[in-house]
């Protein structure tokens, strides 16, 4: 049962997150097919359009997830109702409509036309990876995020301040601040790239880790009953290591874009240490679950939490380390190795933490202590389907990447890009097959919200 009524505003956020996740994955399937059948859906949905939808929806559904998580956990941490549930709902619809319009714009109008329509000549910010949104959409994102932070901030500052809520708020403020660099687009490509990473890297390998840590810590307190003091100490150490390694670790993106040579050293050394906070997160999660003071009724949430810790470490930590040293990155930079790392890192760290908090919070919002047994069984099935297929996708792309690097960049007679792509098609078939399993896992996940509800023990009403 919910401790505070206003926690319920998280529900539409979670539903939107899951819905957009499904659309994201469908566009992933389109792209995976285009890797093999080059003219699939061409020229109606060219690859670049599918990719914009795929990556932008990922970011948007994760943001919906972070917002939902915040609306759910902050009242409980602050021991008061949310400052304004109404504002939260207004911002929800604003964000959803703006996001939907942007995606429709990608799909229905040629990108150059969308740029012209939305005034990209006046303030050009479009056409950069992950920041493809029209400038007006970017302004909308800023408005929504500021309104959201105001709402959360007022709740946190006027209530009980816990380490979790303050760390979460710090992460959210950092998210907003670094996004502002999306508006800086100098004509000099090198400068453009340099500050582009202040959005992209300082988000996912910086402030987002604070948000991730805070949500994970919250769920672990709830499902294990371990003393808050212990969990908060772990949280501090984890985010300390995340910042100490990850901020200068930005340098691993400054190897080959025109920036000076000392970044080869700084980027290599610091980013080689970036697995440490993720490894600690794994130790943290398993330690807390082993030291649990109760067996929570929601064992599915425990599984998602442990899965987050493990796959974040493997995807972000191990797969990142694999190609982060400059002499290795010299050969792997911008290859399928990058794609492999990107997939498991985003899924392991960020998709799974959102699914963890949804798994914990959704039953409570629906007036249950935990989802019914049948629903939890399906949830666990979906976890294993999603996790194993994403690992397969990652291994397939890694295989593709290793071969690509060898054939195109290391062989005595290097092959052209397209000849190389043809030679590694086997791995792309494997990736596509795993993509279908992933999609199936996602549908099992959705189904888990609808089974066993009649037999559910409701704790409210």
């Amino acid at each position: 049962m919910m401790k505070y009524e206003s926690q319920a505003v998280a529900k539409p956020y979670f539903i939107a997150a899951i819905g957009l996740f499904i659309v994201q994955v469908l566009f992933g399937l389109i792209m995976a097919t285009q890797y093999l059948i080059g003219d699939f859906m061409f020229p109606e949905i060219p690859f670049n359009v599918a990719r914009m939808v795929h990556t932008n929806l990922l970011i948007v559904w994760l943001l919906f997830g972070f917002m939902g998580a915040s609306y759910f956990l902050v009242p409980e941490e602050s021991e008061r109702e949310l400052y304004s549930p109404k504002l939260a709902l207004i911002l929800f619809w604003t964000f959803l409509v703006a996001g939907a319009l942007t995606v429709l714009g990608y799909l229905l109008v040629p990108y150059a036309g969308l740029a012209a329509m939305t005034g990209n000549d006046i303030w050009p910010t479009m056409g950069r990876e992950f920041l493809e949104q029209p400038t007006i959409t970017k302004i909308g994102i800023v408005v929504v995020v500021l309104g959201f932070i105001f709402n959360i901030g007022m709740t946190v500052l006027s209530g009980r301040k816990t380490v979790i809520s303050v760390v979460l708020l710090t992460g959210l403020v950092g998210l907003a601040v670094f996004f502002l660099f999306a508006f800086y687009n100098p004509v000099n490509l090198v400068l453009d790239k340099f500050f582009w990473w202040w959005v992209v890297h300082l988000w996912v390998e910086g402030v987002w880790e604070l948000i991730l840590g805070a949500i994970l810590a919250f769920v672990l307190i709830k499902v294990t009953g371990v003393d808050r003091e212990v969990i908060e100490k772990w949280l501090y150490v984890i985010i300390a290591m995340a910042l100490i390694t990850g901020v200068i670790g930005t340098g691993h993106h400054y190897f080959f874009i025109g920036t000076p040579g000392y970044w080869l050293w700084l980027g290599s050394i610091f980013s080689a240490l970036e697995p440490i906070p993720f490894f600690m997160m794994t130790l943290f999660a398993f330690n807390m679950v082993n030291r649990r003071r109760r067996d929570h009724a929601n064992q599915a949430a425990v599984l998602w939490a442990l899965g987050t810790a493990v796959l974040a470490f493997v995807g972000a930590g191990v797969w990142g380390f694999m190609h982060t040293l400059a002499p290795i990155n010299y050969y792997t930079h911008g290859s399928q190795i990058t794609a492999a790392h990107g997939h498991l890192a985003f899924f392991g760290a960020y998709a799974l933490i959102v699914m963890t908090i949804i798994s914990y919070a959704m039953p409570i919002i629906r007036g249950q202590a935990a989802a019914p047994a049948a629903a939890q069984r399906l949830e666990k099935w979906s976890f294993w389907l999603l996790a194993s297929s994403m690992v397969t996708i990652t291994l397939a792309l890694t295989g593709a990447g290793v071969l690509q690097v060898w054939l195109q960049r290391m062989a005595e007679e290097p092959m052209s890009f397209m000849a190389t792509q043809d030679s590694i098609a086997f791995f792309y078939w494997l990736r596509l097959a795993a993509g279908f399993v992933f999609t199936a896992g996602l549908f099992v996940y959705v189904a888990s919200f609808f089974v066993g509800q009649k037999s559910a023990i409701t704790t409210t009403k």
């Binding site: 061409f42 990719r51 740029a115 004509v187 090198v190 340099f194 910042l243 100490i244 930079h333 990058t338």
Partner: protein
């Protein structure tokens, strides 16, 4: 974690380490800003190059290609395409102009963007300028 390692010690590492890292990062970035001009040869950014970058962005080229290794991995690296095409801007222009509207059956094909002559010259000059950035010798070979 041991009892002697207290929560306030952990918090101090977080605050101290975080602030120190950010300050160090900002200082290094400041230094980089000072030495960049000789590496990015920005004095060669002509109005054509400026237009070319705009055309690059307005058509979301980075949605398929990488440029200096960043972007999508669906189509060839373009940071060094000027050199790969025999140091010829006309070869780049010819390639872009000749893309079939309906694509190539079964194959990946670049869309036909219907660019004006001015835009074509811009994009080619932008790619030429990009190929002359000091990238610590990346990519490893001409194939990108």
């Amino acid at each position: 974690m041991s009892e002697r390692f207290t929560k306030s010690m952990a918090r101090n590492i977080y605050l101290g380490g975080g602030v120190f890292s950010l300050l160090l990062f900002f200082s290094l970035s400041y230094h980089t800003m000072g030495v960049l001009p000789e590496r990015d040869h920005r004095h060669n950014i002509t109005p054509e190059v400026v237009l070319g970058k705009k055309v690059w962005e307005d058509n979301n080229c980075v949605g398929c290609h990488t440029i200096l290794g960043e972007g999508a991995y669906f189509a060839p690296e373009l940071g060094n395409v000027y050199k790969r095409f025999g140091n010829s801007t006309e070869a780049i222009i010819g390639f872009i102009e000749s893309r079939p509207v309906e694509g190539i059956p079964g194959r990946r094909s670049m869309p036909q963007f219907n660019l004006s002559r001015e835009e074509l010259v811009g994009i080619a000059e932008f790619l030429k300028w990009t190929s002359e950035i000091n990238t610590n010798n990346w990519p490893p070979n001409i194939e990108g």
